[in-house]
């Protein structure tokens, strides 16, 4: 599909005839053509190929049998229903929690806003198992709070636990979205409504809420996709409650049934992609609030107790739960078995820092460090092509670039396993050797870097597109008019101007690479151990202490990287003159 972007340039390198006088083409911007070709090829390899392979396998006779039995076979129907149910519940609750937190942050008057904000963002930088294991420790059947403190007998495994953990893990997405929207609501609208005689409550229901509807719908859809795509938590907390992602995982790793895995993936892919499309092209069009615009002023903060007490109370409960979860992670890493044997020990950290874990720690960090700049730059490059260079194909490139995120990780992982465990052969030619799996080159590390890039470039791409849309196109043209070609313009003008977006792109890329699990479990190899899949192994074996230590160290690595990156970006040589 990407080949059609540029028929001339996509011809196989080896087959090219002696090129007839390249100078005759000087009219076109050759660097642009080259850039588009390179980016298209990269995208094709890291997301296109795995998806195509998963489709061909899922639509093979063996796979199709499962796909077609999705609604007829009661077991499969149950799995499908479970997935949808989980997605809807988490989407509703997560959006509600995110809204409460955002509303408190933007509109309420209270002290400690910054702290609440940081707490609300914590789940973003944490590995997938942190909340789940902490929740089991605190609220499980032998949970410290549920059982020891309150004497309850709660079964956390299954839907209840999943909804609780996923809501806590994913609400930051909705929090960030809605906070941005609330901040950019023009306060003069509130003033106008008030001037026309509306009470505070009436303003909220007749002005604020209607304007946020697209944002709320958008975050509902995002959370729905995130939760049906999640693999880590259903594996740890699901119990008998099987969802599509965990079923696909079981098919591939337990039953060695790749066709089955591909089939379940396809069923998972359909709602994920359609929701993504609806979110992107329908909800965003309904949006009346420009999130990227500068806030037009600050609204009067609410001090009325009738609103303040319930909202702030809810926000504090959520924040308290988040803090409790992470306190558990930190504390749990330093005791033998948290809640059973609370003796101090360093053995968990020794295991991670000096034992088997150190290998995974170094490999993961190294591979994430390799993937981060690639993903960050590729994201910015795609954003730039989409916003200011491509015309007809820009929607397509934007869509393909976003696939790495919109396609569930489980699906990507299985796609990689199918596509890259064997040498890639297209049209009777081997293009490159196997890059995934134990027998692949570099011990499968290349596939892992590719997955990291695919998974993390979309956030940079989004940030880049938002930043670029703020830049007057005339600036680009001014550079061109002064003699710069496309690439020079990108390097000397565009990139410096979207540095904040690049920074956030790099941050997300690193955090995502370090914490991603679902695609990794399918392609990690004995030579290339990845922390998240090591954590899964520890949790499976019931060694929560080790898992806690892993999680804590992972969080520390991510936070230090973010800190260092921010410091580096402050350095004058990188910063240029920018402001003040």
């Amino acid at each position: 599909m990407t080949d059609t972007l540029l028929p001339a340039a996509a011809a196989p390198v080896g087959a090219s005839t002696p090129s007839p006088r390249p100078r005759r083409r000087s009219g076109r911007d050759l660097t642009l053509v080259t850039l588009v070709t390179v980016v298209s090829l990269l995208l094709f390899v890291i997301v296109g190929l795995p998806l195509i392979r998963i489709l061909t396998v899922a639509l093979s006779a063996e796979g199709w049998e499962i796909v077609s039995s999705m609604l007829t076979n009661p077991v499969n129907r149950r799995i499908l229903w479970n997935t949808v149910q989980l997605g809807v519940l988490v989407a509703v609750l997560g959006t509600a929690v995110g809204f409460v937190m955002a509303y408190a942050q933007v509109r309420l008057k209270f002290r400690g806003k910054k702290l609440l904000h940081l707490i609300a963002l914590m789940p973003i930088v944490s590995p997938p198992f942190a909340v789940a294991t902490a929740a089991i420790t605190m609220f499980g059947r032998n949970g410290i709070i549920s059982n020891k403190l309150l004497g309850l007998d709660i079964d956390i495994y299954g839907l209840k636990g999943l909804v609780f953990v996923l809501t806590l893990s994913f609400f930051p997405v909705s929090y960030m979205n809605l906070k941005g929207m609330l901040e950019s609501l023009d306060p003069s609208l509130d003033e106008a409504a008030s001037n026309l005689g509306a009470s505070k409550l009436k303003i909220f229901t007749s002005v604020t809420l209607p304007m946020l509807v697209p944002g709320i719908a958008g975050s509902f859809l995002l959370l729905f996709v995130e939760s049906i795509a999640d693999l880590a938590n259903p594996l740890v907390l699901g119990g008998d409650y099987t969802v599509l992602a965990s079923r696909a995982y079981l098919a591939v790793t337990g039953e060695y049934n790749v066709a089955g895995g591909a089939a379940y993936s396809l069923v998972l892919l359909v709602p994920a992609l359609s929701v993504f499309l609806v979110q992107r092209y329908w909800v965003s069009r309904k949006n009346v609030v420009s999130v990227t615009g500068k806030p037009a002023g600050s609204p009067e903060l609410i001090t009325a107790p009738a609103l303040r007490i319930p909202i702030l109370g809810l926000a504090l409960v959520v924040a308290g739960l988040v803090v409790l979860m992470y306190a558990t992670v930190i504390f749990g890493g330093f005791v033998k078995i948290f809640g059973v044997n609370n003796d101090f020990t360093l053995s968990h950290y020794r295991f991670v820092l000096a034992g088997i874990g150190s290998d995974a720690m170094f490999t993961t960090t190294l591979l994430a460090l390799v993937a981060t700049p690639i993903a960050g730059l590729l994201g910015m490059l795609i954003a730039w092509l989409v916003v200011s260079k491509l015309k007809r194909t820009s929607g397509l490139m934007d869509f393909v670039g976003m696939l790495g995120l919109s396609v569930p990780g489980t699906v990507i992982g299985i796609g990689y396993a199918i596509a890259f465990n064997t040498p890639t052969i297209l049209g009777g030619r081997q293009w490159f050797p196997a890059v995934a799996g134990g027998s692949a080159i570099l011990g499968g590390a290349m596939a892992i870097v590719m997955v990291f890039v695919a998974r993390s470039l979309p956030s940079g791409q989004r940030a880049g597109i938002a930043a670029l849309q703020q830049i007057n196109p005339a600036i680009d043209e001014a550079s061109t008019s002064l003699g710069a070609n496309s690439f020079t313009t990108f390097r000397k003008v565009t990139l410096p101007l979207i540095r904040p977006a690049l920074l956030s792109g790099l941050t997300y890329a690193f955090a995502r690479s370090m914490t991603t699990l679902s695609p990794i479990v399918f392609i990690t190899t004995p030579q290339t151990k990845i922390m998240t899949s090591q954590i899964l192994a520890e949790v499976d074996a019931g060694r929560f202490g080790n898992a806690f230590a892993y999680c804590a160290i992972l969080i520390v690595i991510v936070l230090s990287f973010i800190g260092l990156l921010n410091l580096a970006m402050l350095h004058p040589s990188i910063r240029g003159i920018q402001r003040r």
């Binding site: 001014a478 003699g483 240029g576």
Partner: protein
């Protein structure tokens, strides 16, 4: 970052320094570029794939002489900016030719065209200092850095920007940013200088001042200049020739005076300056003048070469060529009109007069030197014969 720390506001007040000799010599040394001749032939632009869509620009033919200051003028959507952007290379023509001197430009990438553009938003690079903004294009030419410094200093001096070389764009006022944009364009010694509504973001006073400055600079450098604007005052005061465009078509190309006095279409007459159109009876036409009757009298007026006796015509009378005098008449008939309203502008006074030929806008200069009238007054209405213009009412587009 910068040594000086006054706010842009305080500097703006002490702007417009007299162009002293250093500035002049700096300007002269920028004038080494050879002005180019731009030729547009059957230039056409249709947006989108639909061939039946209305073209943004259709079949434009234009010859821009070396060193000429030409203005593309018209209402928004008339195709003036599209034409400019095709010359710059930011839009690809659907059909037709663009030539610079004898070279066909259609296939030449915008960064390879020896032209420089000044944008409406100035489009200064916000992350670069004033110096680096101006040096940007020279550095791309791989010019040795000592030369770059020298050239940039000259350009900055010529624009009175010497003290601001280390400023960031956002630390400067709009007028100063405009000068940087101009310096950045001129330092490239382009064969053609392109302006896309460069003055519309400035306040009224500064706009008038920059108008004069750009015009003087252009004269001195003798550089071919294409200037796009929707402001007729800018067009009238700056241009050698004005190209009036409407819905993608050139209506008239002429000197400002010709365009004002002898417009070829009602659209041009209406768009440039203000116009009264009177319905007249044509008695006869010969040698470019016509005998007409209107306002109860016979007049001999200059006429458009294409005016025919039986074709629909209209008489253009500019507000300042209407003559008013007190009368005894007490009814709107013949040459008698009645004042509907008056507006005082300071340097002139403007009346709305009801006559049997329709309502007229009348402008009387220097109200203190003339008798003034009040609403309800009856007046004798006439006009300067030689300044009226009999023109055909063609099939106006739209």
């Amino acid at each position: 970052m910068t040594a000086t720390s006054e706010t842009p506001m305080t500097q703006q007040t002490q702007q417009t320094p007299p162009a002293d000799s250093t500035v002049q010599s700096a300007r002269d040394s920028l004038a080494t570029a050879t002005p180019g001749r731009v030729t547009l032939r059957s230039l056409r632009k249709v947006y989108g794939d639909d061939a039946s869509a209305t073209p943004a620009v259709r079949d434009v033919d234009l010859d821009i002489e070396p060193g000429e200051f030409i203005t593309l003028l018209g209402p928004s959507g008339c195709g003036k900016t599209t034409t400019l952007r095709m010359i710059a290379g930011f839009e690809t023509p659907t059909a037709g030719e663009i030539r610079l001197d004898d070279d066909l430009l259609n296939k030449v990438a915008p960064n390879k065209r020896p032209m420089a553009m000044v944008f409406q938003s100035y489009a200064l690079f916000p992350h670069l200092s004033v110096f680096d903004n101006v040096a940007y294009g020279l550095k791309l030419k791989k010019m040795p850095s000592a030369r770059v410094t020298e050239e940039v200093e000259t350009a900055l001096t010529s624009m009175n920007l010497g003290p601001y070389r280390d400023r960031a764009p956002h630390q400067m006022s709009g007028g100063q940013q405009q000068r940087v944009a101009l310096a950045r364009a001129l330092v490239m010694r382009p064969k053609v200088l392109l302006f896309d509504e460069p003055l519309s973001n400035l306040d009224a006073k500064l706009r008038v001042q920059m108008r004069g400055e750009i015009r003087r600079l252009q004269r001195r450098l003798g550089i071919t200049t294409v200037f796009v604007t929707h402001d007729q005052d800018e067009a009238m005061t700056m241009s050698d020739r004005i190209v009036v465009m409407n819905v993608g078509v050139i209506e008239q190309v002429d000197t400002p005076e010709e365009i004002y006095r002898h417009p070829l279409s009602v659209f041009v007459a209406d768009f440039i300056g203000r116009a009264n159109f009177l319905d007249v009876d044509v008695q006869g036409i010969e040698d470019g003048s016509a005998r007409v009757s209107v306002l109860g009298r016979q007049w001999t007026v200059p006429s458009h070469p294409e005016v025919e006796v039986d074709a629909p015509v209209t008489l253009l009378v500019r507000p300042e060529s209407v003559r008013l005098s007190p009368t005894d008449g007490r009814a709107v008939t013949g040459s008698v009109g009645r004042v509907l309203s008056s507006m005082f502008y300071g340097e002139s006074i403007e009346y709305d007069i009801e006559t049997e030929a329709g309502n007229l806008v009348v402008s009387v200069a220097d109200p203190h030197a003339h008798e003034t009238f009040s609403p309800g007054d009856y007046l004798d209405v006439g006009f300067e014969e030689g300044r009226a213009w009999l023109m055909p009412v063609g099939d106006e587009p739209q």
